[in-house]
Each structure stands twice: as structure tokens, then as C-alpha cells.
């Protein structure tokens, strides 16, 4: 594969894409698991399918439609969720299926042969374009700037938004920016792992990192690294066995998550035993 990497442009793009999405996904994934936004992220991701459909229907780039729908879903669910957690749960479910339904509706209204939607549903990292890469670079820059520039405020907000509000920190602004960034990250990830499988890559690396570190910065960095490894491994498997990159990345993510859990449990058990032995 290494030789092919130097020969084929599409492999180089896929390789670059892995690096770029790992940065976004490691950082934002950490936020998502800490703020318990996993299901909301699933909702945003599936809603964006409506945008893909609209893109085909209007003859514009589907990913732009996905952007619009994802941001609207993020803000919509965020707004409803501000009132109560239960409402946010319901809103997530409704956005989720309404988005998918709209996508199917638009696509069936689109004249001519139905387009191939499976690359949006299950991802295809081997077909990313220069434009996709450019969008990802911009998103990474925005995320990194936001996190570094507001780190102390952001961490205070993540830990306890009520207290942050009492300190007169603009919690609403942070909340809205964060939801928009989550939406953008999800759309970027769709190119690689697809709408249906996005949650695995978004949550597994951060969840694994959190098992082994108690520092927010290290969790973010570690989770960037883990998602990088997962993307490379998934890319290799996808190329080698000719399967959808989304499926291979999602499966590897899940496997690694369970393996990490097992390792953690075993190492906790060993430490406990050692402590007991010392106690005796």
C-alpha cells in the first residue's frame, strides 16, 4: 500500500483527509462525550441527509446542503434542549427521522437516475476531493483557534455552565458556537465515515482516551492520536479488502473501544490485587 500511496492521488487525499478529520474529531469528540451530546450528534448527522437530498434536487453540491441542514438541526435541537433535557431527547428523535425522510423525498423528486447515496450514508474516504480537504483545513483551524483562545472559559463552561453564567461569561454564545462547530465537524466526517457510522469515530477515540487520562488537554490530544490510528487502519482495510471506509473505521473503532475497556478493567483489577496484598 505504501507504494500505491506515492503513486495514486486519491490515496494521498485519503491519507491527508485522515489526518485532518482526526484533529476535528478528537477535539470535538471529547467535548461530545463530556457534555453527553452523543445522541444529539447522531440526530444532527442524520438530519443532514435531508440536505444531501436537497443538494441533489437543486443541483448544488450535496455537502453544502448537508452543512445547512446540520447547522439548522444543531441550533434547533440546542434551542429546544435549553428548556428541558426530555424535550431535547424528543427533538433529537424527530429531527433524526425527519431529516432522513426529507432526504429520501428530495432524491425521489430528483429527475433522472437516482444518485448513489451510499457514499454519504456509509462514507468513502477514497473519493474525497481537494474541496473537501480545503473545507476540513478551514474547520480544523476554526476549532483549534476556538479551543486555544477560549480554553479557560470553555473548560469552565463544559464543567459547570451555570457557574460560568453566574460569572457573567457569555454561556449562550459559547453554546451556540459549540453546536455549530459540532455540526460542521459531523458534516466533514460524513465524507469519510458516512452519516450512519459517524458516531463511532466521533465517540470511540475520546471515550478510549478518557479511560486512560484525567486531564482535558491530554484527553483531546490522545483522542486525536487514536482517531488517526483508527482512520489509517480503516483506510488500509478499506483499500486492501475493498470495503466501504466508513464500515471499516466504525468497526475498528468499536473493537478498539471494547478492547480498551477490557484492558482498563484488567489493569484496575491488578492494581486492586496489589493494594490488597500490600495491605496484608
Amino acid at each position: 500500500m505504501l507504494k500505491a500511496l506515492f503513486e495514486y492521488n486519491f490515496l494521498q487525499n485519503a491519507f491527508l483527509c485522515s489526518i485532518l478529520i482526526s484533529i476535528a474529531c478528537g477535539i470535538i469528540g471529547t467535548v461530545i462525550i463530556l457534555k453527553r451530546l452523543v445522541m444529539i450528534s447522531g440526530g444532527i448527522s442524520h438530519t443532514s441527509f435531508g440536505g444531501v437530498g436537497l443538494g441533489y434536487f437543486l443541483g448544488i453540491e450535496p455537502i453544502i446542503g448537508a452543512f445547512v441542514f446540520a447547522v439548522a438541526a444543531a441550533i434547533g435541537i440546542g434551542y429546544i434542549g435549553k428548556k428541558s433535557h426530555r424535550n431535547s431527547d424528543i427533538a433529537t428523535g424527530i429531527f433524526w427521522s425527519a431529516g432522513m425522510a426529507l432526504g429520501i423525498l428530495f432524491i425521489s423528486f430528483t429527475p433522472g437516475y437516482p444518485p448513489d447515496i451510499s457514499s454519504y450514508l456509509f462514507g468513502d474516504i477514497l473519493t474525497v476531493s481537494k474541496t473537501d480537504l480545503l473545507l476540513t483545513v478551514i474547520l480544523d483551524a476554526v476549532i483549534i483557534f476556538f479551543i486555544i483562545a477560549f480554553y479557560n472559559y470553555f473548560r469552565a463552561y463544559l464543567f459547570d455552565d451555570e457557574f460560568a453564567a453566574v460569572l457573567k461569561i457569555n454561556v449562550n454564545l459559547i453554546n451556540n458556537i459549540l453546536h455549530v462547530i459540532i455540526a460542521l465537524t459531523i458534516v466533514i466526517l460524513i465524507r469519510a465515515v458516512g452519516i450512519v457510522l459517524v458516531l463511532a469515530l466521533l465517540t470511540a477515540p475520546a471515550a478510549i482516551a478518557k479511560l486512560f487520562s484525567g486531564n482535558l488537554k491530554s484527553i483531546m490530544l490522545l483522542s486525536v492520536f487514536i482517531s488517526l490510528v483508527l482512520c489509517f487502519a480503516g483506510l488500509w482495510a478499506s483499500y486492501r479488502f475493498n470495503i466501504a471506509s466508513g464500515a471499516s473505521i466504525a468497526l475498528l473503532s468499536s473493537l478498539l473501544y471494547f478492547a480498551a475497556h477490557l484492558v482498563r478493567k484488567i489493569s484496575d483489577y491488578i492494581t486492586d490485587r496489589k493494594m490488597q496484598n500490600q495491605g496484608n
Binding site: L34, F150, D160, F163, K168
Partner: protein, 252 residues
Amino acid sequence: MNYAIEIKNLTVFYNKTCALSDINLTVAEKDFLAIIGPNGGGKSTLVKSVLGIVMPQHGEIRIFGRDPEKYADPIGYVPQFSHFIHDFPISVIDVILTGRLHGRTGLFHRYSKKDYEIAESMLDRLNITHLRNRQISQLSGGQFQKVMILRALATEPELLLLDEPTANVDNDSKTQIYEFLKEINRSVTIILITHDTAAISSYVKNVACLNKRLFYHGEIELDNDIIQKTFGCPVDLIAHGVPHRVLRDHGE
């Protein structure tokens, strides 16, 4: 007399449910007020209205004579224990440092040397310097609440609001926390939501009973009968019963 808090005709609804109805309350400067009442009686809502987290439908709140929005100084706040994500990856010192943040400072904020000095001195005040770098997930209930109180104090507030700070806390820590609150009460006005009757009898200056409406508010020293009636009864009655029954002489 200067008032730390003046509340006039405060009414709060959550959707169509009335949480607080026509509350009138004044809290003097340097007061130590306990708010008791049944669960769902609106205690937390009252505190959150003062903090500006909950917006009232009706009524007026003044903090040190000023509109809450114009009151620029920080208010110390200790939320309920259950409010927190207890496995959040953050160390004790970093939690206390968040008390040094303000809404006005801008990009690339870093804590100053003074912020660190204040945060470290906070640790010293409750003798938990050894916990400085501990993750909050590794703290006991009592240690955790101490950290939250120190975070609130790191804002250097004139007013401190605590929502059940001794729930999930062992007895030793409880005493330490109350002694500490008594000490800082010399310079800070304190409002304490609690179910802890022992604390009410020995530490606080005033008591307010809240169950959607404010049923009783006054100095406990003034009336022996009330002390008897409030504290002579089991905790359960105050925690889960109807407070105006406990204080029926001064009820509605």
C-alpha cells in the same frame, strides 16, 4: 439598614407550573439565612432567580440595592451536588481557578499569578492543600463540596448562595463546613438552602420556610416557641413535611 437582597412580589413559572408565588424577602447585609422547605418547594428556584439563571415572570430583585444585571461583582454560588458531572477530567486547583474568571476578559486568557495565589490560599483555608492536583472524580463527597465552596469564594463575593452544601457529606466535614461558613459570614452575606436541622439551630441567624410561597421569615432568637417548634421536630418533618405545619403559629 442596608439590604443584601430585596425581593418584591417575585413569581416564577416553569411553563405552566408555578414554582414561586408572590415572594417577598429581605436579607440584611452579613445575614446568615437558611431556607428550608420540602423538595420541589422552590428553594433552588429562588436562589437561581437571585443569580439570574432563572428569569422571573413577575416581581423585582435587588442585590445590594442594584438591578441584578447591573450588579457587576461576582456572586458566590455552590450548586447542588447532583448538578455536576462528577467524572469530568479536571483537577481541584483548576476548579477553584475557574472562580477567578470574569465575563469581560478576552481571548487567550491565562490565569495570573494573583489568581493562583488566591486559589492556593483557598486550599489552605479548609486544609485541603494536599488535594491540590487531585482529579475531582477521586474526591469524597465532603472533599468535593469543600472544593465547590472554595471555588465560590475564589470569586471574592459579598454574597454567597449555597444549595444543600452538606448533602452527601460525612459528619466531620459537615462541622468543618459550617464552622467555615460561620467564619466567612463575618464579611459575607450567606444564604443557605438546607435540610440540615442541626445546622439551623447552631449556625444560622435567620430562617425562611419556602413552599411555593414564603411562609415564615425571621430571626430565630426572637421567639423561643419557634425554635422549639422548628428544631424540636424530626428532620423528616422539615425535609419532607409541610413547613407551615411546623411553624403553624406564624403560618399563612
